[in-house]
Symmetry: D3
């Protein structure tokens, strides 16, 4: 099994709903360092999991719709409790759609699964993995 | 599949038994930077793997019984060869018990597995993963 | 010259004033991983720059007044443009006051300067250094 | 399941074949920070995945045949498109052979799989995992 | 004293001249993770050391002339022994020129010094600092 | 001003003397990740601060006398309170002597100062800098 990962980041405000979040129910913020990992059993004819340039651009483009914003006001996240876990799934789902649309190149259609990890600090991170 | 990780550390002395360990058979020590990862298929109703505050406290509490000590003299490790691998299992097993006792909250009962990684230096680490 | 550094973090929302900030003029957020460095020419009688336990507690206490908040609404920062640089100075100034008050122990009175670095992502950080 | 990882690195020149690589078709280079992970269900009688000293030496020895070279001229890679993914597989395959030869000790014969990750920068890495 | 740092990277081939370099006299390569630090006594009117967006762009633009190339063939480095130290000075000098030209904005004219660090691996790095 | 840094590590047991150390008065241990930085105004004729191979070997040799030991029993540290700060000075002083003896090559005689940083965990480190 092969995997390839690219890293980028976003800087957002948000608030969380639920007593379990304590002070994080207040409007606060986070830098999420985002690692997007693509896995597949065999390499494409060029010897890669997918085109790293297209993967980096897709991740950057996706995050550019979220960074420097208050996620409580972002339409595509309306109704979501934007925990690190939920945001990891959101990013993974958008990357899966980008593969479906062909945005990551024809070679990327061989990708079997996507894992996205969001680092919220030097001592905490969360991830979500799904098939494509 | 979702995962959530918290990081803490402990600073311990110990000696290892067996010729394979060479000079590490002598009393020496290590800082173990400890990553505890909790995995589950679906999120709890709050949209998290488990309460990160309780998870951090449980890890800190568990490590506080070991840090600043000589593991050769720690009762709960008597008879163990305290390799990085064995310590990773020890921490994972204690966290699984904490979930069972409800110390990590009711939501944590949905956790499917725990993985614990101990970093012994910038060039070596070991981990253990088990079901809960 | 000796130096000792402790690391902690805060997760905040804020907005920045000035066209130079582009989209960061919007309400957004950041995790700031904060490194507080204390320097002095000679060690105290215990052989340290200062009591690391007290230094960690002072940093944690100071950051607990800011984390999980919208800095635009924090009284002690009223009127400030809370750039990473300005926040680094804010933290350094509060630590210098803590030393003055004796919160970091008598030994800490020998500290000559404080440097505070705030990491806003894996690709950007800022710092401020001042005499005590 | 247990895992143990050791880290080393190599500094190489190479060129890649295929339009997908854009400017990386030119002769350029990379530092690959290499993580070799060994997994097995149970520990050996010493309480480890394998002898970490032998594992480190095997990785160093293997990389010493590649580092400070132009991979386009290395016989053992002739015909290969030396992408990060392909190099990860190359290292993993050589480590599996070393286990087979007994170079990593008798205990290492219980290793079930090997995963090799090559970090090409602070924002990109690739890996390959295989059974032994 | 304030400082602000941005990070980027380049991937290059090169060879070094001199017996001291041993096998690094051969054509090989490196990923250089490049940290560019700008220092000044006081902040500009916006509360920053300089415009971080312009600084990031200037660093990226500068490195884009070097990355994915064999430095032995790069005209602007002709005659240079492209050690990590020499490359750090090269990047710092180009950034100083960019400030002089106004590429980093009017605010950047208050920058007092530039330090550039090139990380060649996880265990070695070099830097150069100069006044502006 | 130029600087060049190499990184290595040691794993030691020790105990600290003084009430300020609380539980660290007990026998415990640490992994110290050690960064040795060499500074000088101008480069040597080869274009480096010093021979990185000799610097790495000198650091490794020096640490090999300490690693896998209980520092309370190490003759060269008798009487010392082996805090992170004191150990940083010890390593820096030994490196300065190595330069004096010529162990780091003739070029290294131009080194102006040495800074040694010991990382004791992911959240604490200390350093010492001295002229040569």
């Amino acid at each position: 099994m092969f995997a390839m990962t690219v890293r980028d980041h976003m800087m957002v405000a948000h608030s969380l709903r639920g007593e379990v979040f304590g002070p994080a129910q207040q409007l606060h913020g986070a830098t999420f360092v985002v690692d997007a990992t693509f896995r597949r059993e065999d390499l494409d004819p060029s010897g890669v999991v997918l085109d790293i340039g297209l993967a980096s651009e897709a991740l950057r483009s996706l995050l550019s719709g979220l960074t420097y914003r208050n996620l409580d006001d972002v339409a595509e996240l309306r109704g979501a409790n934007t925990t690190t876990e939920v945001l990891a799934r959101h990013v993974a789902d958008r990357l899966a759609e980008a593969i479906d649309r062909g945005d990551l190149g024809d070679g990327a259609r061989g990708v079997a699964s996507i894992a996205v990890t969001l680092h919220e600090s030097h001592v905490a991170w969360a991830s979500y993995e799904r098939d494509v």
